[in-house]
Symmetry: C2
Subunit: 331 residues, 2 copies
């Protein structure tokens, strides 16, 4: 490498620490952190691998941004406060312009959420980025996948499917002429610069039961809540919030992207109907209100009421139509 | 992948949590940890990359062990208590026998040091392993690279150079016929299964000033203490502790491996001469006593008294002989 590990860290990553709770940041064997008294530490790790989570043509700024966003999203899904980030970079070579842009994307989102980069590691090898987000919260208010209760309403933040639509456009599976340049820019941002729903996660911490961030697609991630909570769920397709862009697609495609497309990093959470008045208060302060998309059931498995009012059941093998009449509970 | 991410985690990594301070382990968006009151959190991350930090023929058990050891060694170098580990695995394919052995090596060392695996992530891509060790300590007792003071004696744990000797044997740079099968097995263990010096780090926490773990070689790592503390150092070659195996090599080679060979993960620390009585007490309880190898100086740079009693100065460009007479302070 033309620059050594320490030169790279010094040049691109050694920003001034802003948080009072960082006793010691980069440059020693460990960082030293002073967690707030009476709170629990929460921690998560994620990796981005070239050609798996981003493409050779993805801008380094977006790679840096996204590497942080996916980890902060896990903090959001617990309703926690993000505070610190560790970064492990595996780089095939020292590409200074790549590092410059990458670090700008990384610090852009770190600063937005008041998170300090407190340590890390650089190795030579096939390009991948591993981040570890550390935050804190009060254990009883933290949102676990296992805490959903039958009768809970199921909500999501913002809209679903835009990141998957952006990926389909990149892969040329969908023709771009349906969309304006502004719409394509917006979709691309949804894919590469998702907003971790930290504000929303904290707002529902005391109200909601279970939560998860939607990284693998609504159905896959809701199934984790169902499995961990040992409950079933009913979804109403017509309630799934879609962007104006996604609504331009044929029904089947837009539903596929909204239900099974990953990378949105919206939150899916469950809340007792008793909490609806408080949830309405929270909703009034948000740019985009939460959307109720279904209900947790004692009946195991996932059932979906489709756009024509028919109910379908969903299993790992795919959709299976069935005939039960479903009364909607929300929306 | 034949097994999905969740199957792999369930089969190989979902061991019962043993620590009382883990509120929530694997299987949610974040782990929840309850750090001990009145202590600071310490955290470090390291990556092992195939063909960089281990070889295709390295046993998966050793890869798992070493991935943990290098991170725990950073905790040791602060004099901290290790408590929790996060694991990010990038795997080219699901090789169940590899995963089985890898996880055995990983848990072998985790259990030895009472550390719980509390979370992680599995992606597909070129093989690499990133670990994040989290521990705790009392800030004022934690050992920083910046805390060395002129006059401090410089100590190391155990012996230096065996890991580099093992690597030289693997690379066939040194002929194996100098060594018995037992010696080669011992050297190989030093390379792939280094012992993080947790016990020693904690024992010196209240006594020592600065510390670092020797991952890149004594000279490189001591230079970090010198740079961060803005001090110089004097080393006595005849004091550098060498194993019986390393002593079989010609002088020049054994010194090169002991000074510049990495991967030993021994600790190098500095301590005021006033603390020697207390250090002796600590030493009596160790399997292998600490060895004094030199002294911190106000004179900048590193000087070394060689085996013939001549002094040499060391710079990034290599060794340079000079004529100053040096009075030894230790050993």
């Amino acid at each position: 490498m033309s620059l050594g590990e320490f030169d790279i860290i010094h040049t691109y990553f050694n920003k001034k620490i802003k948080r009072q709770d960082v006793v010691l940041g980069l440059g020693d064997d460990c960082a030293i952190l002073e967690p707030p008294a009476g709170k629990e530490i929460i921690v998560s790790t994620d990796s981005l691998v070239l050609n798996r989570h981003f493409l050779p043509e993805t801008s380094p700024f977006d790679v840096g941004y996204r590497a942080v966003a996916v980890s902060l999203s896990d903090i959001a899904a617990m309703g926690g406060n993000p505070a610190w980030l560790m970064l492990s970079l595996v780089l095939p070579k020292v590409d200074e312009s790549w590092l410059d842009e990458f670090s700008k994307g990384l610090f852009f989102i770190l600063e937005k959420f008041n998170v300090d980069l407190i340590g890390g590691n650089i190795s030579r090898g096939p390009l991948s980025i591993t981040t570890q987000a550390i935050g804190y919260g009060i254990s009883k208010n933290l949102l676990r996948r296992s805490a959903a209760v039958p009768g809970d309403l199921i909500y999501v933040t913002y809209t679903l499917g835009d990141a998957a639509l952006a990926l389909a456009l990149i892969k040329k599976e969908i023709q771009p002429d349906l969309f304006s340049a502004e719409e394509i820019a917006e979709l691309t941002r949804a894919l590469w610069q998702p907003t971790p729903r930290i504000v929303e996660g904290q707002a529902i911490g005391k109200l909601a039961h279970a939560a998860i961030d939607i990284s693998d697609g609504l159905l896959a991630d809701l199934s984790h809540i169902m499995a961990n909570s040992q409950v079933g769920a009913m979804l109403y397709l017509e309630n799934i919030p879609l962007s104006a862009s996604l609504k331009k697609l044929p029904n089947e495609k837009k539903i596929e992207l909204a239900l099974s497309g990953g990378d949105d990093y919206e939150l899916c959470f469950t809340v007792s109907p008793k909490q609806l008045p408080q949830l309405d208060v929270v909703n009034e302060h948000l740019n985009y209100p939460f959307t109720c998309i279904g209900q947790i059931t004692t009946h195991p498995g996932l059932r979906i009421k489709d756009l024509e009012g028919k109910s379908i059941s969903f299993s790992q093998k795919g959709y299976q139509h069935f005939s039960e009449v479903i009364n909607k509970v929300c929306g």
